[in-house]
C-alpha cells in the first residue's frame, strides 16, 4: 500500500487540509458539552437569562462555523481521494501495457480487470472516508477523555478505563470475524461458480437427466453458505449491544461517583451533565469508528492487490536502438530454441530451422505439440528460455518492441475486434493506410461480403470484442487487419478454423498472390491448409519431428503421413 502513496503526493495539501479541518470541527463539537455545562451552572443556576441566551448564541455560532469548516473538509477529502485514485488507475493501466505475455498469463485477465475496477472503487471510497473520519473518531474519543480529565481527574480515569475496555471489545470482535468473512466470501464464490457451471452445462445436465443431483449439490452449497453467514452474524451482532451496555454502565458509575463528589462539593451539577454528554459522544464515535475500520481494512487489502501488480517489473526489456539487419540472412531462423513456461516441462525443445524471405511455412502437429508456442516466439511475445530466435539475421531481443512488432502481422487464434468501426479496427494494422490499401486487404481476406452486408460499409459499428459479428466474420476481419499492415512476416495461427474449406482455400490463394516478399506462417489442424507450403514444420511434443515439403514429408515422415491420412484417407494421396 505504501508505494501507492506517491500518487497522493500531488494532493498533499488537500489530504492534510481535510483531516485538519475535520479536527477543528471535532474540537468545536467537544466544546458543546462545556458550554451547556456553563449555561446550566452560570446561567440557569444563577438565574442569569441573558448569560444563558448568550451561550445558546455561541452554540449556534459554533454550529455555523462547524458547517463551513466541514464543507471545506469534505471538499478537500473528496478531491484528494478522487485525484489519488485517478492517478493510481492511470498508472496501473499504463503499467499493464508494459507487462509481457507471460506476466499477463500468470496474473489472468479477469483478476487484472477486478483490480482496475472494483478494487479502485473500494480504494477511493476508503481513502475518502479515511481522510474524513480517521482523525475525527479517535480525536473525539480521546478528546472527550481529555475533557473529562480537565473537568475531573477521577472521572477522567473512568473514561480511560471505559475506552480501553471498548477498544478491546471492538478489536476482539473484528479479529474473530475478519477470517470468518473471508470464509463466507469463498463459499459465495463456490455458489456463484455452481450457478455459472449449470448454465453453461444446461444441455449436458438435461441430456444425462442429472437435474436432481445438481439441485442437491447446489442446496448443499447454499446451506453451507447459510451456516457460515449465521455463524459470523452471531459474533458481529454482539458489537453494538456490548458497546451499548458498557457505555451505559459507565454512565451509572459516573452518576454515582458524581453524586458523591457533588455532595462533597468537589464537582457541580453542570459538570456532571457535561461528563454525561461526553460519554454519549464517545458511544456515537465508537460505532462510526468501527464501521470505518472495516472499510479501511478492505481498502488496504485492495490497495495491496493493486500495488502487487504495480511492483511487477516486466520480465522483458527492449533496447532503444534497432539492430543491423542482414539482407541475405533468412527471414526467420530458430537456433536450438527451447521454451518453457513457468518451470513446467518445455513446450518447445531445441528447435532449429531457417525460412527464406517470401516462403510460406506450414506448422502442423497434434493438440499441445507446441505450434502456437513456436509462432509466438517470432514477434517475441515470449522469450526463449534457450537458444536464439532471429528475424532478418538479428536476435529478436535486440529489436525495439515497436520495430519488431511492426514487421509482423499476427492473426491470433481468438478472433477479437475492438469497439469502434470496421475502419478503425483495420487501421490498427497501419495508422496511415489509404482507402485502396484497406479495400485490398478486405478483398484478400475474403470479407468483401461482410462489408457489403453493412449499410455503412467500412464505417459499420463494431461492438465490444466484435460481438455483433459471427466467428467466421471476425476471423476474416482479423486477417484483413493483419494484411493492412503489409507485414514482412504474416502469422496465421489456426485463424481459418471457422471458415469452410472452400473459403479457406480462396483465402490462401489470395494471400499467395499479394505483391511483395511476405513470409507466411500458417498454423493449422488441417493438412489441406498447409500442403502447398514451401516448408512444413511437423511438431510432436515440442520437438521438430520433421521438416520439408509435402511430397518429401509424405515419404519420410511417418507422423506427417498419419496426420494426412487421418484426414484424407489412405487412398486419396495417390490421386
Amino acid at each position: 500500500m505504501k508505494k501507492l502513496l506517491v500518487y497522493l503526493k500531488p494532493y498533499a495539501k488537500e489530504s492534510a487540509a481535510g483531516p485538519l479541518l475535520k479536527l477543528t470541527e471535532a474540537a468545536m463539537d467537544l466544546a458543546v458539552p462545556v458550554i451547556v455545562g456553563r449555561l446550566i451552572d452560570d446561567g440557569i443556576a444563577a438565574g442569569n437569562m441573558r448569560y444563558a441566551a448568550g451561550m445558546a448564541g455561541v452554540l449556534v455560532a459554533l454550529a455555523a462555523a462547524g458547517l463551513t469548516i466541514a464543507i471545506l473538509a469534505q471538499f478537500f477529502a473528496a478531491k484528494a481521494a478522487v485525484g489519488f485514485v485517478t492517478g493510481v488507475r492511470r498508472a496501473l493501466f499504463a503499467h499493464l501495457g508494459t507487462l509481457s505475455y507471460s506476466d499477463v498469463d500468470r496474473l489472468g485477465a479477469a483478476s487484472l480487470i477486478t483490480r482496475m475496477t472494483s478494487d479502485m472503487a473500494q480504494l477511493q471510497n476508503g481513502t475518502n472516508l479515511t481522510l474524513r473520519l480517521l482523525l475525527r473518531s479517535p480525536f473525539v474519543v480521546l478528546g472527550s477523555t481529555v475533557m473529562a480529565f480537565v473537568i475531573d481527574l477521577r472521572a477522567g480515569l473512568l473514561f480511560l478505563a471505559a475506552v480501553a475496555v471498548l477498544a478491546c471489545v471492538v478489536f476482539g470482535v473484528m479479529l474473530r470475524t475478519v477470517p470468518m468473512y473471508r470464509g463466507v466470501q469463498e463459499q459465495l464464490d463456490d455458489v456463484t461458480d455452481h450457478v455459472g457451471q449449470t448454465l453453461t452445462g444446461a444441455r449436458v445436465v438435461r441430456a444425462f437427466c442429472r437435474e436432481e443431483s445438481e439441485r442437491n449439490a447446489f442446496a448443499g452449497r447454499a446451506d453451507r453458505l447459510n451456516r457460515l453467514q449465521k455463524a459470523v452474524g452471531r459474533v458481529s451482532a454482539l458489537l453494538n449491544p456490548v458497546t451499548f451496555l458498557l457505555i451505559n454502565l459507565a454512565v451509572v458509575w459516573l452518576i454515582h461517583t458524581g453524586a458523591v463528589r457533588v455532595e462533597a462539593g468537589s464537582l457541580s451539577q453542570g459538570q456532571v451533565v457535561a461528563l454525561y454528554n461526553y460519554m454519549a459522544q464517545i458511544l456515537v464515535e465508537l460505532i462510526k469508528g468501527a464501521d470505518l475500520f472495516i472499510l479501511l481494512t478492505k481498502a488496504i487489502a485492495c490497495g495491496n492487490r493493486i500495488e502487487a501488480v504495480m511492483e511487477l517489473r516486466s520480465s522483458m526489456t527492449f533496447p532503444a536502438e534497432a539492430p543491423a539487419e542482414d539482407p541475405d540472412a533468412p527471414a526467420v531462423s530458430f537456433e536450438d530454441v527451447t521454451l518453457a513456461y513457468n518451470d513446467a516441462d518445455p513446450a518447445l525443445t531445441r528447435v532449429s530451422f531457417a525460412v527464406r524471405r517470401g516462403q510460406t511455412v506450414g506448422v502442423v502437429g497434434s493438440t499441445g505439440s507446441g505450434k502456437t508456442s513456436l509462432v509466438n516466439l517470432i514477434p517475441r511475445f515470449y522469450d526463449a528460455t534457450g537458444g536464439v530466435v532471429r528475424v532478418n539475421g538479428a536476435d529478436v531481443r535486440d529489436y525495439p518492441e515497436k520495430t519488431l512488432r511492426d514487421k509482423i502481422g499476427v492473426v491470433p487464434q481468438k478472433a477479437v475486434l475492438f469497439r469502434g468501426t470496421i475502419r478503425e479496427n483495420l487501421l490498427w494494422g497501419s495508422e496511415d493506410a489509404t482507402r485502396e490499401e484497406l479495400e485490398q486487404a478486405v478483398h484478400a481476406a475474403q470479407c468483401d461480403d461482410v462489408i457489403a452486408a453493412k449499410p455503412e460499409g467500412l464505417d459499420a459499428p463494431v461492438e465490444q470484442a466484435g460481438r455483433n459479428f459471427s466467428g467466421g466474420q471476425r476471423q476474416r476481419l482479423t486477417i484483413a487487419r493483419a494484411l493492412v499492415r503489409r507485414p514482412e512476416i504474416l502469422i496465421l495461427d489456426d485463424s481459418a478454423s471457422a471458415l469452410d474449406m472452400a473459403t479457406d482455400l480462396r483465402l490462401r490463394q489470395a494471400i499467395a498472390s499479394l505483391p511483395g516478399d511476405m513470409t507466411v506462417f500458417i498454423v493449422s489442424q488441417r493438412a489441406s491448409s498447409v500442403m502447398q507450403a514451401d516448408v512444413i514444420l511437423v511438431l510432436e511434443d515440442g520437438v521438430l519431428a520433421a521438416c520439408g515439403d509435402h511430397e518429401t514429408l509424405l515419404k519420410t515422415s511417418e507422423i506427417y503421413r498419419e496426420i494426412y491420412e487421418s484426414q484424407f484417407g489412405e487412398a486419396v494421396h495417390h490421386g
Binding site: 449555561l39 452445462g201 454525561y276 454519549a280
Partner: protein
C-alpha cells in the same frame, strides 16, 4: 423520486412477504425485540435526567432516591442490550435464510426452464440475479425494514417523551426538524444525478478496460498500448470530474443535517433555560428542571437521527425492490411444458427416428427449418454436413427436445417425442458436443456423470476406449484429480476425450456426436473414431462433423444448407451427383490434384 417509487409493483411486495412467511415467528420476535430496545433506550435519558436532578448541590444529594434509579438504569440497559443482540441475530438468521431459500428456488428454476431460456439470456446476468440480487434484496429489505421500524418507534417515542416533559419545547423541536429533512432531500436529489453520471462513465471505462485486458495480447501485437492509454486517459479525466462532484455533493448531507441538529439543540437549551429561570415555556404547574433539560437535550440530539436513517432506508428499499423484481422475473420464467400424464416411458428403443414436415425457427419472424422430412432406420449411421449455420445443431436440439418443433413432428420408434417423457427420451440418447462441459469434480465423477453408480473398473474401461487413460494416469491424482468447470489444466482435446469416455460408459441406444472430436488431433481422433465405430454397431447414430473423412463411411449423409436438406445419399452417390456435397469435398481434396 416519489414517482419512481411507485414502479415496484404491488405484486412484488406481496411475493416478498410470501418469501418471509416461513420465518414469520422469528421475524415477529425480532420486531418485538426492536420495540423493547427502542422504548428501553428512550427511557434512559429520562432516568439519567432524574438522577442528575437529585444531585443539585453539596449537602443536598438524595442518595436514598438515587440508588433505585441507578439500579433501574443498569437493568434497563442490560435488557436493551440483550434485546438488541437477539434482534440482530434473528434479523441475520431471517435474512440469510430468505436468501438461501430464494437462491434454491431460482436454481431449481434454471433446471426447469427450456434450454431456449438459457440460450437467450446472458449467463452473467442470470448469475448476478441469483447471487447479487438475492443478497441485496434480502439485505436491503429486512435490514431496511428493521431500521425503518426502529426509526419510527424512536421518532414517535422521542416525540411522546418530549411532549410529556414539556410540550411547548417539544413543539419547537418538531417544527425545526423538517429543515434537516428538506436539506437532506435537496442534496440527495442533486447527488443522485451526479452519481448516475459517475456510473455511466464508470461503465464506459470498465468496457474499455475489459476489452483491452481480455485482449491485451492483440493490443501488444499491434503496438497499440499508447492509443489505448490515450482513450483511457480521456475517460479517466471525465470520470475523475464526475466522481469528485458526486462524492463531494453526497458528503454534504451529514454536515448540513448536523448543523440543523445543532441549531435545534441550541434552541432547546435556550427555551429550556427560559423555562427554568423565568417560567416561559413552562407547562402546567410542573417545574422544568436541569435534569429534565439534560434529558431533553439528549432527545433533541437523537430526534433527527432516525429521520436521516429512514430517508436513507427509502433509497435502500427501492433498490431492494428493484432487485427483488429482477429475481422474481427469473422465478417466473416459464417452465418447460411438463410431460403429459400418459406420456410414454421409452425403454430400450429400437432407434428408428423420423421427422415429418418438421418446421422450426428460433425467431418467429424468420422461418428456419421448413417441411423437413426424414426417416432413419434403427441402427443406421447418419452424418450431417453443411456450412456453419445450416441447421445441423438445430436438428440435434429437436431430437433431444431441447427445443420443440413449431410445426410437423419428430418421432422415435413411431411415437411423437412430445408424447415421451423427456427423461426417458434423453436417457436413450448419448451425446458428445463440440463445446465440452465438465462439472467441478474429479475426473472419475465426470466420466460417471451419466451413471453415478458405475464402478471404478467400468470408468477406467470407458476412459481406455476414449484413449484418455494414459493422460489421466499422468494427472497429479489420477482419476481423483479435481477438474474445475473450466477444465483446469486440461486441453480442449483432453476435455473432449473425457466427454467421449462418458458416452462409452453410458452405452446409450442412440448416439449424437456433434463435432465430438474437433479439438482432438487427427491421429488420436482416428483411434477414438475406431472405438466409436464399434460402439455404433447396431445403434442409431447422428454425426455432425467438419472433416469429411470422419463421415464418409456413414450409411446416409444429409447435406444441409439454410435449414433445408439439399442432398441425401451415401458418399459415392453424392460425389457422383456433382452437387453441393461434391463442391465441399472438392474444397478439401481439390488441392491434391494441383
Amino acid at each position: 423520486m416519489a414517482e419512481s417509487k411507485a414502479k415496484a409493483p404491488r405484486g412484488t411486495v406481496r411475493r416478498v412477504l410470501a418469501c418471509v412467511r416461513p420465518y414469520r415467528a422469528r421475524l415477529g420476535l425480532s420486531v418485538l425485540m426492536a420495540a423493547v430496545f427502542s422504548v428501553g433506550e428512550l427511557t434512559l435519558p429520562i432516568m439519567a435526567g432524574r438522577a442528575i436532578d437529585l444531585i443539585v448541590a453539596p449537602g443536598s444529594v438524595d442518595f436514598a432516591a438515587l440508588a433505585p434509579i441507578l439500579t433501574r438504569i443498569a437493568v434497563v440497559t442490560a435488557v436493551c442490550a440483550a434485546a438488541q443482540w437477539v434482534m440482530n441475530a434473528l434479523g441475520n438468521a431471517v435474512t440469510f435464510g430468505v436468501v438461501r431459500d430464494v437462491r434454491k428456488q431460482a436454481f431449481d428454476r434454471i433446471l426447469r426452464v427450456p434450454v431456449k431460456y438459457v440460450d437467450a439470456h446472458p449467463h452473467g446476468d442470470v448469475v448476478s440475479r441469483i447471487v447479487t440480487d438475492a443478497d441485496q434484496f434480502a439485505d436491503g429489505l429486512l435490514l431496511g425494514f428493521n431500521k425503518c421500524f426502529c426509526g419510527v418507534i424512536s421518532i414517535v417515542g422521542t416525540l411522546v417523551f418530549m411532549l410529556v416533559i414539556n410540550w411547548k419545547i417539544a413543539l419547537v423541536v418538531a417544527l425545526l426538524t423538517p429543515l434537516s429533512l428538506f436539506a437532506a432531500r435537496t442534496i440527495s436529489r442533486r447527488s443522485y444525478r451526479a452519481f448516475q453520471a459517475q456510473s455511466t462513465l464508470r461503465g464506459e471505462q470498465t468496457g474499455l478496460i475489459d476489452e483491452t485486458l481480455e485482449n491485451i495480447k492483440t493490443v501488444k501485437a499491434f503496438s497499440r498500448e499508447a492509443a489505448r492509454l490515450a482513450a483511457f486517459d480521456d475517460l479517466n479525466g471525465r470520470l475523475s470530474k464526475a466522481s469528485l462532484r458526486a462524492t463531494f455533493l453526497s458528503s454534504l448531507t451529514n454536515p448540513t443535517t448536523r448543523f440543523v441538529n445543532s441549531v435545534v439543540y441550541a434552541a432547546v437549551a435556550l427555551c429550556g433555560s427560559a423555562a427554568i429561570v423565568s417560567g416561559h415555556f413552562a407547562v402546567g404547574g410542573a417545574a422544568f428542571t436541569v435534569g429534565a433539560l439534560s434529558g431533553f437535550l439528549a432527545y433533541a440530539n437523537r430526534y433527527t437521527k432516525p429521520f436521516n436513517e429512514i430517508s436513507g432506508v427509502f433509497a435502500e428499499l427501492q433498490n431492494a425492490l428493484a432487485c427483488a423484481a429482477r429475481l422474481f422475473e427469473l422465478l417466473d420464467a416459464a417452465e418447460e411444458t411438463p410431460d403429459g400424464a400418459d406420456a410414454r416411458v421409452l425403454t430400450d428403443p429400437a432407434g428408428g427416428v423420423s421427422f415429418r414436415d418438421a418446421a422450426f425457427s428460433y425467431d418467429p419472424a424468420r422461418p428456419f427449418i421448413r417441411d423437413l422430412s426424414l426417416d432413419v432406420k434403427p441402427g443406421q449411421r447418419v452424418a450431417i454436413v453443411g456450412p456453419t449455420g445450416c441447421g445441423k445443431t438445430t436438428l440435434i436440439n429437436l431430437l433431444m427436445r431441447f427445443y420443440d418443433v413449431t410445426g410437423g413432428s419428430v418421432a422415435v420408434d413411431g411415437t411423437d417425442v412430445r408424447d415421451i417423457t423427456r427423461g426417458s427420451l434423453r436417457r436413450s440418447f448419448g451425446m458428445v458436443l463440440q463445446e465440452t462441459w465438465l462439472m467441478h469434480g474429479t475426473v472419475a465423477e465426470n466420466i460417471a456423470y451419466a451413471r453415478p453408480d458405475a464402478s471404478r473398473e467400468e470408468i477406467v474401461a470407458a476412459a481406455k476406449k476414449a484413449h484418455a487413460h494414459s493422460f489421466i494416469r499422468r494427472l497429479p491424482d489420477g482419476y481423483d484429480t479435481v477438474v474445475g468447470a473450466d477444465g483446469g489444466s486440461l486441453s480442449q482435446g483432453q476435455r473432449q476425450q473425457l466427454c467421449a469416455a462418458r458416452l462409452f460408459l453410458a452405452q446409450p441406444r442412440m448416439l449424437i456426436l456433434d463435432e465430438a472430436t474437433s479439438s482432438i488431433d487427427t491421429r488420436t481422433e482416428q483411434q477414438i473414431q475406431a472405438a466409436f465405430t464399434r460402439l455404433m454397431e447396431g445403434r442409431t447414430a447422428f454425426i455432425v462433423a467438419h472433416r469429411l473423412s470422419t463421415i464418409r463411411h456413414a450409411d446416409v449423409i444429409l447435406v444441409m444448407r439454410d435449414g433445408q436438406i439439399v442432398e441425401t445419399g451415401d458418399h459415392e452417390t453424392l460425389l457422383a451427383r456433382g452437387g453441393f456435397y461434391a463442391e465441399l469435398h472438392q474444397a478439401q481434396f481439390g488441392a491434391v490434384s494441383t
